[in-house]
């Protein structure tokens, strides 16, 4: 009887120690997940921030200013545009005449 009790006592002790270990592991994994989630969120907001910054660099205001001042471009008019039709033939602006 006492031998059985002793074995059971050993089993209980082993299980208790194992529980402690499992809990410890679970907690460190939770910490890891939390850290990773925070990192993901940080990268997401960083991505948003960079998106906005990229857009700020490509606003029509800035594009037009650079095109005019640095590249000496001018606004397009129908007079200097060739319109291509779906068939593939290039149609000049004067192809269709309004009555």
């Amino acid at each position: 009887m006492s031998r059985v009790s002793f074995l059971l006592w050993l089993a209980v002790m082993a299980s208790a120690l194992y529980l402690v270990r499992t809990q410890y592991e679970s907690r460190s994994l939770t910490t890891e997940i939390d850290r990773a989630t925070n990192e993901a969120r940080r990268l997401e907001t960083e991505n948003d921030r960079l998106d906005v910054e990229r857009r700020a660099q490509a606003t029509p205001l800035r594009v037009e200013k650079l095109a005019r001042e640095q590249l000496h471009m001018r606004t397009i008019t129908p007079a200097i545009t060739q319109y291509a039709t779906v068939g593939g033939a290039a149609a000049p602006a004067s192809a269709e005449v309004h009555p």
């Binding site: 606003t59 029509p60 037009e64 008019t77 129908p78 007079a79 060739q82 319109y83 602006a93 269709e96």
Partner: protein, 579 residues
């Protein structure tokens, strides 16, 4: 007396006769002590454990807020008009701040305030939290952190960034420091954009790491992105053009509305003067006003096509019907209606082309007030526009039962009622959309064609477009509305501004509402220039050129092929020069 005694030892030195009750007493005391411990343990563990549980919780359980991201505002092509980015905000704990005068002076300088202002914020030592400055630049926060002042901290907050700046300011609006919409779309769609913050309860260890989740997590609900119908390129271009016109004409303000007539989407809605939503230091009311929607004025001659359209619909006149407008005057009771230039015999087409008041009144007086009122209402006048905008006004069209004949007459050429520029643009979509009134939308609809309520027959809408086209050809009032490559049509308007109870003699509003291309309309553009003071003030002079340029660029960006002959200036081949 006999005493019971115990002999504890045989040593004579220790041989003392102790009374038995003493040992019993000791045993009892110790037993009582243990009982006390058991009772206490039972009390702590079973009876009153809530208090201790709470104390334990306070020491290691934390509730974390999970902030929701505010949704972005995008234009129709997915370009960002507004987005939230995290920025540092500086706060301090006045209770335990390190009060080193040198460091505090440096801090005040970095925060852009005087030392006295900073001292005032920090003077209440009972407080444990005070904002020093919210939403500072990343570099400033870093410099402050480098000062290493005890009791000064930073915290991440979301700040709204508006990359497009002034040109879309009135449409997008702005949020306050708490991320709540205050103006424009930010205010109207605040609920959808805002989202809902979540929370989670966790156990933290002594390093501050989260080690366990307890209870259920409430996930944050991020705000929805909102895609507007606005095209940021059209918007920018229209803004630049109205700005140029306002400056050139020394005007007080100007507005442009561009509508897609196939889908009812608002492609651009601009006002000048504007403001930069990111820097709202010294804003004036004039800059903040979304004039295209909030300012109403008497629409003047732009009302004439509505009246003539109704006359065609009722079979009262035909486009070729001749009307005598000589001698350029018409007496109605005590009032005289005059044309700025007398014209003589005009066809209905020419009444619109030359913008004859007398001709319009002669047509209008053959109609019932009820019919006129109904057509105005059907075309959106006196009604709040469906675009959900803070402060959008409905203008004024009085009930027809109260109209006196002279009022019916003046209303036919646009006096005695009021409308906003947006409403005028909306009314003209009826001519452009084949006689149908379609719903307007500020949000991208992803539809290629919508149907609306029929106001005019298709045939009469086409006849009206032809008249509007005549306005823009030589002989009309607005040849400056013409644009290279595209046929246009529209109507000018010039109104005296109302001041107090009467009309201001030298204050005008010039406007132009038009359609392009005229045979297969794609857009309606309405332009208004308020109080031009540089000589020209007619709508045909101050507003029509802005219309012309805006139409040209908008149709080009929409990929609409020109429908009019253009003398090509394309250099296709260059002959080699010979020596």
């Amino acid at each position: 007396m006999s005493h019971r005694s115990v002999q504890y030892t045989s040593s004579p030195l220790l041989a003392s006769k102790t009374p038995i009750w003493r040992s019993q007493f000791i045993v009892a005391v110790i037993a009582a002590g243990f009982l006390g411990l058991v009772a206490r343990a039972a009390y702590v563990q079973v009876i009153d454990n809530a208090f201790f549980k709470r104390q334990g919780t306070v020491r290691f359980v934390r509730t974390l807020d999970l902030p929701a991201n505010r949704g972005r505002i995008l234009d129709r092509n997915g370009n960002i008009l507004a987005s939230s980015v995290p920025v540092p905000s500086i706060w301090a704990n006045p209770e335990d701040i390190e009060r080193d005068p040198v460091k505090l002076k440096a801090l005040a300088k970095l925060l852009g305030m005087t030392s006295a202002e900073l001292d005032k914020k920090l003077q209440d030592e009972d407080k444990i939290f005070v904002w020093l400055k919210r939403q500072v630049d990343e570099s400033v926060a870093k410099d402050i952190a480098d000062l290493k002042i005890k009791g000064v901290y930073d915290r991440k907050e979301y700040k709204r960034i508006y990359p497009e700046g002034e040109s879309v300011a009135h449409v997008v609006g702005f949020t306050n420091v708490e991320n709540l919409g205050q103006e424009g779309v930010e205010l109207t769609f605040n609920k959808d954009l805002g989202g809902k913050a979540g929370s989670r309860r966790v156990i933290k260890d002594r390093f501050g790491h989260v080690v366990e989740d307890i209870g259920e997590m409430v996930p944050p609900l991020d705000g929805q992105d909102l895609q507007l119908s606005i095209d940021s390129k059209v918007q920018y271009f229209a803004y630049e053009k109205i700005k140029e016109s306002v400056i050139a004409n020394k005007a007080a303000a100007g507005s442009v509305v561009v509508l897609d007539v196939k889908t009812g989407e608002v492609l651009a809605l601009v006002n000048y003067p504007s403001y930069s939503p990111g820097k709202r230091g010294n804003l004036s009311g004039a800059q903040l006003r979304n004039r295209a929607l909030t300012d109403t004025f008497e629409p003047g001659s732009t009302m004439k096509p509505l009246v003539v359209g109704l006359a065609l619909e009722k079979g009262i006149v035909k486009p070729e019907t001749m009307i005598q407008t000589a001698p350029g005057k018409l007496q109605m009771g005590t009032a005289t209606i005059t044309d700025s230039h007398p014209h003589g015999l005009l066809s209905v087409n020419e009444v619109i082309q030359k913008s004859s008041n007398v001709g319009t009144v002669k047509i209008a007086m053959q109609m019932q007030p009820h019919d006129m009122w109904e057509i105005f209402t059907q075309m959106g006048l006196g009604q709040k526009p469906q675009v959900p905008f803070p402060g959008a006004v409905s203008g004024k069209v009085r009930a027809y039962k109260t109209w006196r004949p002279i009022e019916q007459a003046t209303m036919s050429y646009g006096y005695g009622l009021s409308a906003s520029l947006f409403q005028l643009a909306q009314a003209y979509t009826v001519f452009a959309h084949d006689g149908e009134m379609i719903p307007m939308s500020l949000v991208k609809t992803n539809q290629s064609q919508v149907t609306g309520a029929r106001v005019f027959s298709s045939e009469h809408a086409a006849a009206m477009r032809h008249m509007l086209h005549m306005v823009t050809i030589p002989g009309g009032t607005a040849p400056k509305a013409q644009t290279m490559g595209y046929s246009v049509g529209g109507k000018t308007g010039t109104a005296h501004k109302v001041e107090g109870k009467g009309y201001a003699s030298k204050k005008y509003r010039g406007f132009f509402v038009g359609i392009a291309p005229i045979d297969n309309p794609r857009i309606v553009v309405a332009v208004m220039v308020d109080e031009p003071t540089n000589g020209a003030y007619f709508g045909g002079d101050v507003a029509a050129p802005v219309f012309s340029q805006t139409v040209q660029q908008t149709l080009r960006m929409m990929g609409v092929q020109p429908d009019m002959a253009v003398k090509p200036q394309v250099v296709t081949q260059v002959e080699k020069e010979s020596f």
